[in-house]
């Protein structure tokens, strides 16, 4: 067994142990912190599997943004009545355990019973890359081969924001999400929120741009841009725009709208919904991705900011 093998086994054991610890943690906040660490370790696993695109997404979305959402939810629930602390009735607990074991067993059986070598579409995905003009097969899969799924994912993101906003009390509808700005922002956090965004914006746009040929893309780049907006809002340097803002709403829907418009244009020009005319596939893909990045960068902070809690300014 080589050193690298031993390290891989150690990493896998660490991921499993952390997963078990996160499930077993009694306090919501501790479980959320465990989940963030678990996501970061998992992204190392993806790097070891040579899936750098997935690793970036796991670190940015799975661990980062989801972690922020979970930690905020845990902090909000801290003062709430612990209605869920009552243990379930024993038969129900037993049933839940059996169900979980069945799902885990089915997943394990699927993975273990896979033929070796596993069936793969990777050669076709790489073989058709020239028709898209892209160098990164993952981006080609996302925006070209299965463009329909990716477009619907963006629609789901916008729907999630609509869902969060619909929790607003009637009096606050049209106001800004989240709590009002503190009079004096915390000094250390405010400093970070001033130093980090210039760097983060450059890195986010870079990751979106290189996504055409190297690991990266709209989702990862957009998540970094979103994080920059989140940190300035958390530090109290800016306030979220009111949900009635037309500009905000335009940015939120721009990604799916541009995607849909180009997809419909493909029916006329290229002979199929979401088909790109040959020769101009790459510029069109980058055009769509730019608006998707914008949508993601606006959607994720709006999900974290939560429903409007302030009455609209007259």
């Amino acid at each position: 067994m080589t050193v690298v093998n031993a390290l891989d086994i150690g990493l896998a054991a660490l991921v499993l142990a952390l997963a078990a610890w996160t499930v077993a943690a009694r306090e919501a906040f501790a479980a959320a912190v465990g989940y963030v660490a678990y996501g970061l370790l998992l992204s190392l696993v993806w790097v070891r599997l040579f899936a750098v695109d997935v690793a970036l997404t796991e670190a940015a979305i799975g661990s980062g943004v989801t972690g922020v959402l979970l930690i905020r939810a845990a902090a909000r629930l801290r003062g709430a009545t612990p209605a869920l602390d009552e243990p379930l009735a024993p038969p129900l607990r037993f049933l839940a355990g059996v169900l979980c074991a069945m799902v885990a067993g089915a997943l394990a059986a699927t993975v273990l019973l896979m033929p070796d070598p596993a069936p793969t579409l990777a050669p076709q995905a790489v073989g058709n890359l020239p028709s898209t003009g892209l160098g990164n097969a993952v981006t080609a899969v996302l925006i070209s081969y299965r463009a329909f799924d990716t477009m619907l994912e963006k629609v789901v993101l916008v729907l999630a924001v609509v869902g969060v906003w619909s929790l607003a009390p009637d009096a606050c509808w049209g106001g800004s999400p989240g709590a009002p700005r503190p009079a004096r922002p915390e000094a250390a956090l405010a400093f970070l929120a001033q130093v980090l965004p210039p760097l983060g914006i450059v890195v986010g746009i870079h990751i979106f741009w290189v996504g055409a040929d190297e690991p990266g893309g709209a989702f990862q780049g957009g998540a970094i841009l979103a994080a920059m907006w989140m940190i300035t809002m958390m530090a109290g340097l800016t306030e979220a725009p009111p949900v009635s803002s037309t500009r905000l709403r335009l940015v939120l829907v721009s990604g799916p709208a541009v995607f849909l418009a180009i997809g419909l244009a493909g029916v006329v020009i290229a002979g199929g919904f979401l088909a790109y005319p040959s020769g101009s596939a790459k510029p069109l893909i980058l055009f769509i991705e730019a608006f998707m990045t914008l949508t993601i960068a606006a959607t994720l902070p709006m999900l974290v900011a939560g429903p409007p809690e302030q009455p609209p300014q007259p």
């Binding site: 915390e186 000094a187 250390a188 956090l189 400093f191 970070l192 130093v195 980090l196 760097l199």
Partner: protein, 97 residues
């Protein structure tokens, strides 16, 4: 030349690992939260810095070197800020009880 660079890599990374070890021992053994926080800065600042120094000869070009240094700078910035925030929270909690 390359032997000297290899030696630099080995020595710097070993020294970095030592500081990570010291920081982890401190995190596990120190009695109160503020001391434990103090122990962690050894790992982040010196440990990671030495490992970055050790990896510089292997970065393959100026761009790689700049990226490694940028990673170290960002970790420094983030860890210093988080340490301040946690310490502030501990202090507020301590003064209220």
């Amino acid at each position: 030349m390359s032997a000297a660079l290899d030696l630099l890599t080995i020595v710097a990374i070993l020294a970095g690992l030592f500081f990570f070890l010291a920081g982890t021992v401190g995190l596990l053994r120190f009695p109160d939260p503020l001391s434990r926080l103090h122990a962690l800065t050894k790992a982040d600042n010196l440990g990671l810095g030495l490992i970055v120094v050790g990896l510089l000869p292997r970065a393959g070009g100026l761009l790689g070197v700049l990226k490694l240094v940028a990673v170290w700078f960002l970790v420094l910035l983030a860890s210093a800020t988080v340490a301040q925030l946690i310490a502030g929270a501990i202090r507020r909690k301590g003064s209220s009880t």
